[in-house]
Symmetry: C2
């Protein structure tokens, strides 16, 4: 069995080996600081009694699950703490597929490449629905693709790679479609703290036994290496998901859960707003330079990414490598995100040198 391994690691390696200085805009890894209270909690943890170094409950520390549940308006019983959003999405998709109600997984095109990969290891088949040019998803197109074979519909808002934020009507319609076809909507909301549009709507707003919401603290607290995420299941689906979580991972990092719990309680809205403001400024600088380079692009409504198209320079792996060598800027080939964006390159705005990158691109494509 061959899996579709994401291209990220290949491109990052290539950029590292380059002979010149390269601005790395490949991966969605925040370059800003985690909350100071998170560092405090790590220090505190080092001196706790050794029983605090042992297994947490399999589904996660109760206090963390309760804190999340209170903020999201759900019951703590519905919350499973996972090894990042990665495991959360895996559990959610597995739970939907194991109901034996068909094996088709509806994904968007462009798509975050882990979703098709997870579909394959779970024995599902992929069916892609194209978004529009701005990355918006038309519920009518999803409905047209849905059938008795549909087990899951996976969406991501704010979106990686398009930067689209789906309006409330879209999310509501997707929940309706899931109910209509006895499918499960999996809504990956890991960029929810990076909604720059004010339009973000969580699938949790729509009460249903047919939607699972996944999230993580990886992006919101700038701790992608901690691996603390969560999934919120309907009561009818949660028990089997907990069993799979236990059988795959037993439990996830207790020190990580401890640090996140403290940071969650002690971090005010200013921290998150400051990070959004930083992103807004980078978006402006970067898109100004894209204008200067006569590139097409989408201004992101949320998440970290700008997709751009340069005239006569399709976003193939070969061209991305050439851009690394000749311009000193590393992005992700559009082909990694599906057939519809093979002409495009995705740039992640998670470097203090986004401005330098912008200048280099403007000069290179001048």
């Amino acid at each position: 069995m061959e899996y579709e391994t994401p291209l990220f690691f290949h491109v990052m390696e290539y950029a590292k080996r380059a002979d010149r200085d390269v601005v790395d805009m490949v991966s969605g890894t925040p370059d800003w600081e985690p909350p100071e209270s998170l560092r405090d909690a790590v220090r505190e943890y080092a001196d706790l009694e050794s029983d605090q170094f042992q297994y947490p409950p399999s589904e996660g520390l109760l206090e963390l699950r309760e804190e999340i549940a209170a903020r999201r308006g759900v019951d703590a019983e519905q919350v499973v703490i996972t090894n990042g959003a990665g495991e959360a999405n895996y559990l959610a998709m597995a739970r939907a597929l194991e109901r034996d109600r068909g094996s088709e997984v509806i994904l968007t095109d462009p798509v975050y490449p882990y979703y098709p990969g997870k579909t394959t290891i779970l024995g599902g088949t992929q069916r892609f629905v194209a978004t529009d040019e701005d990355g918006q998803l038309d519920p009518a197109a999803v409905r047209a693709a849905a059938s008795e074979e549909t087990a899951v519909i996976v969406v991501n808002t704010p979106n990686n790679p398009t930067g689209a934020v789906y309006p409330e009507e879209t999310i509501e319609a997707l929940v309706d479609i899931a109910e209509e076809y006895d499918a499960i909507l999996v809504s990956d909301e890991v960029y929810d703290h990076y909604d720059l549009s004010g339009e973000f709507a969580s699938a949790l707003q729509f009460e249903s036994d047919h939607r699972i919401v996944t999230n993580a603290f990886s992006k919101s607290m700038a701790i992608t290496g901690y691996r603390v995420g969560y999934a919120i299941f309907p009561p009818t689906l949660v028990e089997n998901a907990k069993s799979r979580h236990m059988l795959v991972n037993v439990a996830t990092t207790r020190p990580g859960q401890y640090a996140v719990l403290h940071a969650l309680k002690e971090t005010g809205p200013d921290y998150f707003e400051a990070n959004r403001q930083l992103l807004r400024e980078r978006v402006e600088t970067f898109t100004d330079a894209l204008d200067a380079a006569d590139a097409e692009y989408t201004t992101p409504q949320g998440s970290f990414y700008v997709m751009a198209r340069f005239d006569g320079y399709p976003g193939t792996l070969e061209n991305v490598e050439r851009l690394i060598d000749e311009a000193g800027v590393a992005g992700m080939p559009g082909e990694a995100f599906g057939d519809s964006r093979t002409d495009w390159i995705r740039f992640a705005l998670v470097t203090p040198r986004a401005e330098t990158a912008a200048e280099r691109l403007a000069a290179y494509f001048d």
Copy 2:
């Protein structure tokens, strides 16, 4: 789909809710201290640059993989850092099953209950081979059970729950059987630092493309909550395992990996020997009390566990709960480990009050 959820959590909850003082001997959670250098590394980590809080490489920090590879005499490319031995065993069994060489998983009886559970979520079928009274596995019995349908043979040495340590000849024969039937031997060696017999043999001693070795720092460093383990694959099997690891978990805790790397480099053999000595003393105290209670038991050659049988008191869940309420000692029902040990109760020697428990059992069964 229903999974066989381990009984551990149920029994631990029951013990916690009891009206009286209970010595908890349910779960294999060390009560001794982690290495001091591990705490030092956690302190140090709190002040690192924020880029150290981001994704590690998917297969684990290179320095940690190299350190493990050097100690185990393998190539770093063969090592995947996992979310504890739990994920390591999941990846190993999945890798063996996805070769499409049959779907049967040979397990021992008694068995560590996560293995049959993992078999089920991976779509395999279980076939049990009984061990002898001391928990030793006869390779001839495994050979008799093996066929073209055999995808995996899973063993655990030092063994949970029996305390058996398999001699070198057994491991060598199991590798041979795996090769003969194009199956994969998965050798879970998570208790290797708690070999009290001096007889432990790792499957790594026998060069083969048909064996995967799994391990973790959870038990050896008394950090079951950190979730840092590893699997060592033959070069022919490692790439797909890395892909699955990436698609399920993306990567595992970077702070945990950092702490383990430092502790691994800075912890001498004295730390591990002191823990073994503590266990030896507890085994003696506890089995002396079992003698006084006229119980049958196996003196463990390794791991943390003693299985005992009390006359007229089979190890059902009901009797285990009665023992909690009436004697103040919590063990695990033998039925959790398979059909052959339904008369037995497993006690984990990971409490400073093992002596109190022993006295209570002696008095109760007097």
